[in-house]
Structure formats: structure tokens, C-alpha cells
Amino acid sequence: MILVQLFASFFKIGLFSFGGGYAMISLIADEIFKYQWLSQSEFVRIIGIAGMTPGPIAINSATFVGYKMAGFAGAFFATLGVSMPSFFLVLALAGTLFRHADHPLLIQILKGMKPVVAGLIFAAAVTVGKSTLAEFNVNGGLHLNWPTIAIAVIVLTLSLRTKVHPILLIVFSGILGFAAHFLTGISIG
């Protein structure tokens, strides 16, 4: 049953995601939290790993979530699910799209979806940020995770000001996180 669910969920994600990997995070989060497959912090870690390993983020996160839920078979069905809509749409539309990629109807539809995709990416930042930059403790108080916030700001600045490869920046943020553990002397994570 879980295999069918994984396949169906990732098929849906593959069918409705436009604008690349980060735009897909909101869709994946929606499915994962609906079925309560993973906790927020588990999901966020998977996104981190999916972004650091080679290959498309969509495939990486589908394979990882599937593996975590149901081992090799889970990984297989989740990956199959997220890839199938693309593959069959290409086979069905290849001829038409080669000729009409600049049709005004298609351009208008993509123009309408682009701001939505932008919104979905910011929503993904909120989903990831909510469980990492801050946390609510048991008595309802808000605890800000200052080391992680500082690292986010540093990476954001470096990314805007320099041309360092994004992957190196993520590796660098991991090293900073490890260093912060000793600098702050508090148990975090």
C-alpha cells in the first residue's frame, strides 16, 4: 500500500511542478506532511542532502524519501512516479512543442504560472526556515537558533556578492555549523 501511495504522490508532484527543484519542495512538503511520512526536521535534512549530491534535486529527494519510507522498492516507485509524467508528456507533445514552443497561448500560461512558482519557492523557504531557524519549545516560547540564522545570512551574502558555486557554499555552511557547535558550546540540533 505504501508503494502505491509513494508512486501516486510523486506522480502528482512530477505532474504539477514547474520551475525546477526548489519550486518542487512545496509540493513534496504538502504530500509528506499530509501522510505524515516524515517529521519537519527529517524532511529538511533530506532537502539538504538532495541539494548536495549530484543529479536533479527532484530525483534525489524522491529517491531519498522513498528509500526512507520503504527501502529499495520505495525508492524505485517514488523515482518512477516523479519521472513518468515528464517522460510520457514528452513523448505525447514532442512534435507539437518543437513547432509551437513560442505559441502565444503557451507563453501566456507560463507567464501566469511563473509568479506562482516564485511564491512556492518562498513558501518552501518558510517551510524549511520554520523548523531550522527557530523552534517553539514545549511551553510555547520561541527559541531562535542564532548560529543557523547567522550562517543563512553569511551564505546569502556570499551568494549575492561572489560567484562561489552553490554546492561549495552548502559544504561551507556545514563546516560553519560544526564550528559553531564548539564556539557556542551549547548542544544544538
Partner: protein, 187 residues
């Protein structure tokens, strides 16, 4: 070498060695297909990249399927797609199996305390980029705001918002067409 195997191995290589997701693959795919294999012209591949972004799904898979189809039909499409997926699939299974063993270690928690910050920054950057190219007038700005509120505060499924964006685009096309027709009639 047989064309199907060549397609598979080209895309396998690209999938194996590209860090940073589907968009990061495009320059490598261009180099392999246009410069090294000479299967496709430069203009043609740009059209393919545009078509790949017009359909849903992972950019890398869309591009591989399109190029495989263009060069060697349905079987070619299958082999190219399989090639680009397989490295990710194998690497992630190895990483996931290893990671599940060490996930509870404090060192992992400490490292991820940093990585999480880095990931938030990367997502924000990609959001800024998409917003800059996607928000061009009052209607697109409204769509952006509606999406933020609906997804973050109301928990609406992203799928409905994608459909809303497509519907607004369709409507604008219909209005544009009506106007140009009226303008044409007036002549």
C-alpha cells in the same frame, strides 16, 4: 557504438557529475550534444531547453527525454532518461543507507545546523531570481501574493495555485486575442 548506448552513457555521465540540480546540467548537456557528439545544432538545443521548461517535471528529465526522442525516437528517449536518472538513484540509495546509520550522532546534528542555514539561503536566492523574472505587472504581483498567503498561512495545496496561474494565463490569452480581433475588425 550503438546510438542507444551512446545516449545512455552521455546522459549517465552528465547525471553523475553535475552538482546543483537540473538547471546546472544545461550547459553540460549543450557541450556534450552540440560540441562533442554534434547530434544537435546550437539553435535547436535552445528550442529544446525552452520546450523542456514548458512542461511539468524535473528539467533534467524533460531535457533528456526531448533530446533522446529527437535523436533516436521513443527508445532513444527512454535510454537518455534512464541514463540521467540512474546515477542519482544509485548515489542517493548509498547515501541514504549510510545516513540512516549515523543520523543520530551529535556531529551530524551540528553539521546540519549549518547546512540548514545554507539551504534556506539557496532557496531564497532561487526565489528572488524567479520573482524578478516572473513578477512583471499588477496581475503577476497579485498571483505571487495570493500564492504566498494561500500556501504559508492557509495550507492550500500548491497544485491549486499552479492551476490558478495557468487559468489566469489562459484568460489573458483569450482577452488579448479578442482585443486584437476587434482591432483587426476596426480596420
Amino acid at each position: 557504438m550503438h546510438i542507444y548506448f551512446e545516449l545512455f552513457s552521455s546522459f549517465f555521465k552528465i547525471g553523475m557529475f553535475t552538482f546543483g540540480g537540473g538547471f546546472a546540467m544545461l550547459p553540460l548537456i549543450e557541450k556534450e550534444m552540440v560540441v562533442r557528439k554534434k547530434w544537435i545544432g546550437r539553435d535547436e538545443i535552445m528550442d529544446l531547453f525552452a520546450a523542456a521548461q514548458a512542461i511539468p517535471g524535473a528539467i533534467a528529465i524533460n531535457v533528456a527525454s526531448f533530446i533522446g526522442y529527437k535523436i533516436a525516437g521513443k527508445k532513444g528517449s527512454f535510454m537518455a532518461t534512464l541514463g540521467v536518472i540512474l546515477p542519482s538513484f544509485m548515489i542517493i540509495i548509498a547515501v541514504a543507507a549510510l545516513f540512516m546509520q549515523i543520523a543520530d550522532a551529535w556531529q551530524v546534528a551540528a553539521v546540519f545546523n549549518g547546512i540548514n542555514g545554507g539551504v534556506v539561503a539557496m532557496i531564497l536566492i532561487s526565489g528572488f531570481r524567479m520573482a524578478r523574472s516572473g513578477i512583471v505587472d499588477r496581475i503577476t504581483a497579485t498571483l505571487f501574493t495570493v500564492t504566498l498567503i494561500a500556501v504559508i498561512f492557509l495550507g492550500v495545496s500548491p497544485i491549486y495555485l499552479i492551476l490558478l496561474g495557468a487559468a489566469v494565463g489562459l484568460l489573458r490569452y483569450a482577452i488579448e486575442k479578442k482585443h486584437s480581433k476587434e482591432a483587426g475588425d476596426g480596420e
